[in-house]
Assembly symmetry: C2
Homo-oligomer: 376 residues x 2
């Protein structure tokens, strides 16, 4: 259940109640693809860096260890010892991006595992069953994510099928939730808006899924090839048709600047692998811009990654030490860097929330939207 | 300074005072080759797993980031934020084991970097200067470690040269310690006994280096090809000639059983990369024997790695979760496993100390020396 606390322009300060606790929004979800954060971060680490909600991937966990295994282990929360909220994606994005051969029918998608190539079928019902086994708090609807740009005819047909899949997701989740042995009977379903970069299709699809009175709505199919300007334009086009009393989630986005700009356009939830991936390549975010710790100028630099940051890494270690760890290819380099970048993102949304509360979001946006994305 | 607290048979319970704190012995030193523990463990983690003393490698830190860099960063303690005792090896072992081409003269060794092949010269003075720059609490003498078995003539000549190198190490360290800008003016030198598997050479060399009244003595050149029985025989041969009021360090050893057996023969200090390396390959120690977490039988096993263990990993995570992390090739698998295995080794020596204090070391040895090394 979503509660809107305050609004400044389109920017929204809210809170979302899940079976595993309340999420303060806007929020960045920390991505633990396979039930662990890339870079050797544990559930204990998530607690240390201010994570509110974790996101895991249905496709990956279906393959390894298998969602039936997760179910027998009491669900994902218990398996990974993360007691906060969890959102699972539907598997759709990975089916379309990771597996080479695939065949789409009305029923669903047949595809080859990216691990061993064996054929797997996944449709709306399968996706909901997997997510029920994982026991996440928010399950995402099974959709097709088309790349941008794609032919209008294909986007229209895909979008209509995604709508029919959504109805099947809703029905299957209702059935699964009511089973006596449901892992998480409070699991809810969020719908995903599609329609490529065609504004009229986006609006039509959004209006249709809004009528279903789902618990939350995502904008999908962005950050898949289009320009940033197109992405912002689509958000602006779709947003007026999203229910104001439901959370809005922009999937797979983005840079700190993207997040600030999307909040300014009415978005509440975000996720992205970029901060963790960048960290593993020594690209660290600071409140003055992004730095590359492999740069030789940090060899003797005894300041923390970001003097303005209070994360466990900045409080203890120097740029010089991290520079050495990267050069020496020590795993600890990745771990400490991922911790910093995720803390930075969690802190970024915390400061966005504070700015909206205090009515200073406009000046926050003016000060940071460009600065945080630049490389220094 | 070493103080012998209690003795049971040959087994010794003691304490060793360093400029960065007191080490309770017998002790296992946790190996942070390049200023970080392999497996993404930080200095903060070492504090969590009961580490008393950390060991780093002179050869590796000389190459990366360079000991002059470490010196400018205030020494190794400050660079890695580890405020407990540090022992550094001399670089000798790596010079002989890692670099292909090398040339030994009376002056020292010319060898090729294992990273980029560039030629490096290291002799006793260079090793002591590097270790002074690192600022460790205990510096090891520069020696040649010959493999077992080697021809008697070669071992004898090498051992005599190692003795002459030791005299140069002692003189150079005295000079370096007295410099006004010494990183760690309290750094001491430990000598290393050599002599291959020739008992008379071992004894002769031990007697000669004992006369130098050094702060500690190591037995080197073991666990380099000889049988376990030969290793134990050499320890038994050398030990009576080691000063009773100085710590004894068995370099690069070993399994839990090896450590118990060596303590029973009068050894106080140990180090080994094996527990961390085994952990990275899913081989975990328990008080019932060693297990392999990749084994399919752990897929649904919700018990901790070792029900008898109180480490941060066993208190929170299940075998099933770690099994999944290894199968999914998540870095977190390595991190959690290394934490457990090092905690196990730290706990092993803690229990050995307690047993000696209580006069029950014989029964501890009888119960665990074989059990801990077996695979279950």
């Amino acid at each position: 259940m979503f509660r809107l606390i305050k609004q400044q322009g389109k920017a929204r300060r809210g809170e979302y109640i899940t079976p595993h606790g309340v999420v303060q929004t806007p929020v960045f979800m920390n991505v633990g693809t396979q039930g662990a954060i890339k870079g050797a971060l544990s559930a204990a680490d998530l607690e240390r860096i201010g994570t509110q909600i974790e996101l895991s991937n249905t496709y990956h966990l279906h393959l390894r260890p298998g969602d039936e295994v997760v179910r027998q282990l009491g669900g994902l929360h218990r398996m990974m010892t993360w007691n906060g909220p969890i959102l699972t994606d539907s598997g759709g994005f990975q089916v379309f991006s990771l597996s080479g051969l695939r065949k789409i029918t009305e029923e669903g998608v047949t595809f080859a595992s990216h691990i061993d190539g064996h054929r797997i079928f996944m449709g709306p019902e399968e996706s909901m069953r997997i997510q029920a086994n994982l026991g996440s708090d928010v399950a995402m609807a099974f959709d097709e994510c088309v790349e941008n740009p794609s032919p209008r005819e294909y986007v229209k047909a895909s979008m209509d099928r995604t709508y029919r899949w959504l109805l099947r997701c809703r029905d299957e989740q209702l059935r699964l939730r009511s089973l006596p042995d449901a892992i998480n009977p409070g699991q809810v379903l969020w719908g995903i808006n599609q329609g490529g970069d065609y504004e009229d299709l986006r609006v039509e699809h959004m209006q249709r899924i809004a009528e279903l009175d789902l618990d939350g709505y995502a904008i999908g199919g962005l950050a898949v090839g289009e320009t940033t300007e197109t992405m912002y334009r689509i958000i602006e086009t779709v947003e007026p048709h999203m229910p104001a009393d439901r959370p809005r989630y922009l999937m797979g986005v983005g840079t700190p600047g993207n997040i600030i700009e999307a909040v300014a356009r009415g978005v509440d939830f975000f996720d992205c692998v970029m901060p963790a991936r960048n960290a593993r390549h020594a690209r660290l975010f600071t409140w003055s811009g992004a730095i590359n710790l492999k740069n030789a100028k940090y060899t003797l630099d005894e300041s923390p990654i970001d003097p303005e940051c209070d994360c466990p890494v900045c409080r203890r270690y120097t740029r010089a030490y991290l520079h050495h760890l990267f050069k020496a290819e020590e795993m600890l380099a990745m771990r400490l860097s991922v911790m910093h970048n995720l803390y930075f993102y969690n802190q970024l949304t915390a400061r966005i929330r504070q700015a909206i509360e205090e009515g200073t979001f406009d000046s926050f946006r003016a000060e940071y939207a460009k600065r945080l994305d630049r490389r220094i």
